[in-house]
């Protein structure tokens, strides 16, 4: 398998790697090469959403994205989400509503919700947001506190 250089911006900083195999997933590059382990590894099959990052502003499953697909992109992970004005409000809303238990799904939810607000705007109705977060699984909260966090984040952004 050939390894080639890859470069992108992650949380505003350039990351240049010289030997990324063609089949390597963005999730693994971020976690094991860039040392950004806030992005969580769950299923690796695109079903749980724990690995969601923003690629050029769009919520993206990093487990199903080849690192080379993200060449030249601007990537935002949970570690950088509070540098984003929308992300800062989303994090504050999750904190205010204590919408965290084990925390393993939390980075994916925070990043995905930030991306949804950026794509669709803060006026997006709550039920639409909840539907769109259906690809992010949580086993602890029953989603009740997360739904409260979504509503609280929307209020903050409006």
């Amino acid at each position: 398998m050939t390894a080639e250089p890859a470069s992108f911006r992650v949380n505003g900083r350039s990351v240049a790697l010289d030997d990324v195999p063609g089949a390597e997933r963005l999730l693994d590059t971020l976690r094991w090469r860039a040392g950004l382990k806030g992005t969580k590894e769950g299923c690796r099959t695109g079903d749980c959403g724990a690995c969601t990052v923003l690629v050029d502003g769009r919520p993206t499953l990093s487990c199903l994205t080849l690192s080379h697909e993200a060449e030249g992109s601007a990537i935002v992970t949970v570690e950088g989400i509070e540098d984003d004005p929308v992300g800062r409000h989303v994090v504050a809303a999750f904190r205010d509503t204590a919408a965290v238990q084990c925390g393993y799904c939390t980075p994916g939810f925070v990043v995905a919700l930030t991306g949804l607000f950026k794509e669709r705007g803060a006026a997006t109705p709550v039920p639409t947001l909840l539907d769109d977060l259906g690809g992010n699984l949580c086993r602890c909260t029953g989603y009740a506190a997360i739904a409260r966090a979504v509503a609280a984040a929307r209020e903050r952004l409006r």
């Binding site: 950004l36 099959t45 084990c102 925390g103 393993y104 086993r139 997360i146």
Partner: protein, 734 residues
Amino acid sequence: MSGLVRPDLTEKLRGGVVYGTDLEAPGMLWGALVLAPPGVGRIHSVDLSEARARPGVVAIGAADVPRLVGGGPGDAERPPFPTETILYASQPVAAVAAPTLAEARAAARLVRLRAEASTAVTDLERVFPEWPGSGAGNSPSVAAHVRARHGDVDAALARASTVVRETYRTAGIHQVALEPHACLADGGPGAWRVRTSTQSPFGVREDVASILGIPESTLTVEGTWVGGGFGGKGASLLEPYALLLAAASGKPVRLALTYREEFLLGRSTLPAVIRFETGVAQGRIVARRVRLLLDVGASLPGRDFATGYSIGFLLGPYDTPAFEVEGYAVRTHKPPFGPHRAPFAPQCAFAVESHLDEVARVAGLDPVTFRADHLWTTGASTPLGQTVGAFGLPAALDAARRKAREWRATMPPGRGIGIGLGFWSTGTGAGGEVRLALGPRELVVVQGEREIGSGSVLVGVAEVAAHRSGLPRGRVRVEYRSTARAPFDSGVFGSRTTAVLGRAVEEAVGGLLSELARRCGVAGTARLVEEGDELAVEVDGRRRPVRELLTAAERDGEGVVAEGKFYGAGGAIDERRVEVGAFYGYSDFTGAAHVAQVDVDRATGAVRVERYAAFHDAGTVVDRPTATAQVEGGVVMGLGTALTEEAIWTDDGRLANPGLLDYRIPTLAEVPPIEVEFLEGFLGSGPRGAKGLGEPPIVPVPATIAAAVRDACGAHLTELPLSPERVARALKLV
């Protein structure tokens, strides 16, 4: 609520806490397990030579175990790798480690297993197509056999005006913690260390030491943050393999399951068949006969706890003058049965509630009133002869009936409302110990449980310490330490942390306050208060700064130290009623009544839950937001058990749906609004009368949904989950 409520919020929201899957160490190797395929039995050979020929690869099998850890013989009944016969598909037969994960996985594929073909039996009804006959207790297919009785069941059934016989079936389910199992082992002989994502560091230490035959004193287990447990991370799973690979390679070894492997070899609740025979005369239950076949997979004979414990939940929570209960733990070619949040109790409640609903209807009685008329109350005697402690379930049922009436008045046409009850015993389990260290500015609770997400450690334990000492919670810090540095604790399971460890905390704080009073020269009771930036002791209306009361050594060290311990115990049953095997008494009687409103799609059989209410007796509520969050989470997990979650094994021994696409858990798009209410005043054995709450919320859910489905469309379902296909069949749509 604020960040103070959950001290872990800020770091978790930054992605800053280290879970098992995040572990790495300089120079480490990546491990991988070699799993047996389905349909094989006796082992001829496990050939590691091709794998070992790869550069940098370490490979180990059963033959390598004795020389690797240098201890005595390990537990002969549960060797890390099978030596003669493979017990289930996906049982690990070898393990490899390599400098990268890709190399490890490639090497794992080079391990050659030669074994005899064997017919896998994964359907327990194939093991016993008929009820097991006398002598079945000695069958190699039976891991445990239990029987209890009281009164003359046959005579009572003969006298009954109505006798209802039914059979229920429940599915195997998975915990589905989002974080797969992961650990990292390093060290060397005499000083091994395993860092791991676990609910029980001390339990893992005991387990690994026993499996490998090494003294516990030579192994330190350090818990990482845990990305969900739900019972699946209570015992060791990967740790012995990681340690063996570390021993073989002389390097740190990281070992994690893929999510597919998580399904294939995780331990959880397995399928069951439950049979009832219930007699009624003059509106009262006169006798019940209950039979259980519980699939326990490859559980070891004589070590099954589940059957004798779980079967009790098929007898309650209802008065029954005469009963006979018999259960078999049936071995199949599946991974061993393991605990899953209130193990098997939701399935029991589903069967009991649905059956008594049917009994009432056949007898011409109102189903909810019928259950209410038989419900245990405080001071009643259980069928096994234990006295029921303070029990809020009757009050919870009253509240649930009021809620159901309110909803029915505003319910759109075609919908249905159901009420389900569940009970569970909390506050049992082995004990826990804590050490307190009081410094000038904070009270530190040193203990050995990792917060697994519920808040029971970081909120529950902290709140108990704060309340007892007089301090605001922000002045209490709960500190986790490894098995080498923390006092013993049995772990986060069995709804026990706040209730059991909390008692140890109360004792320790009491001792600390006495010591502080003594240092103030007073025999009375002290309490702690904030004074400026620091803490002070208040006793007899006078205050002394804590700093003044510390010796020089204490100021430089941990502060004033105090210890507490609490070992809970189950209540006694009437052993004369036990004929075979072991049955268990309960500690705190904890109960909940739930209400659901559902809509059933008359074309597809799909059930949509529109609203849900949960009424809980949790004794004294220690922290309301955290308690509410436990109930919300438990209810939704239960909706999965009720509606979608089902592990499917094929006849050739394969798990057919080892992934989240085909094993569906609830998502944000389909959960209903949930109302939560606590019925207080029924005091348990925990701090200030608290009862455990981790498990009870899941117990009544499948029963509640089944009752609502029946109310909506008349379908009486006797199998879990209530999938669209089963509902459609019950409605004769297919």
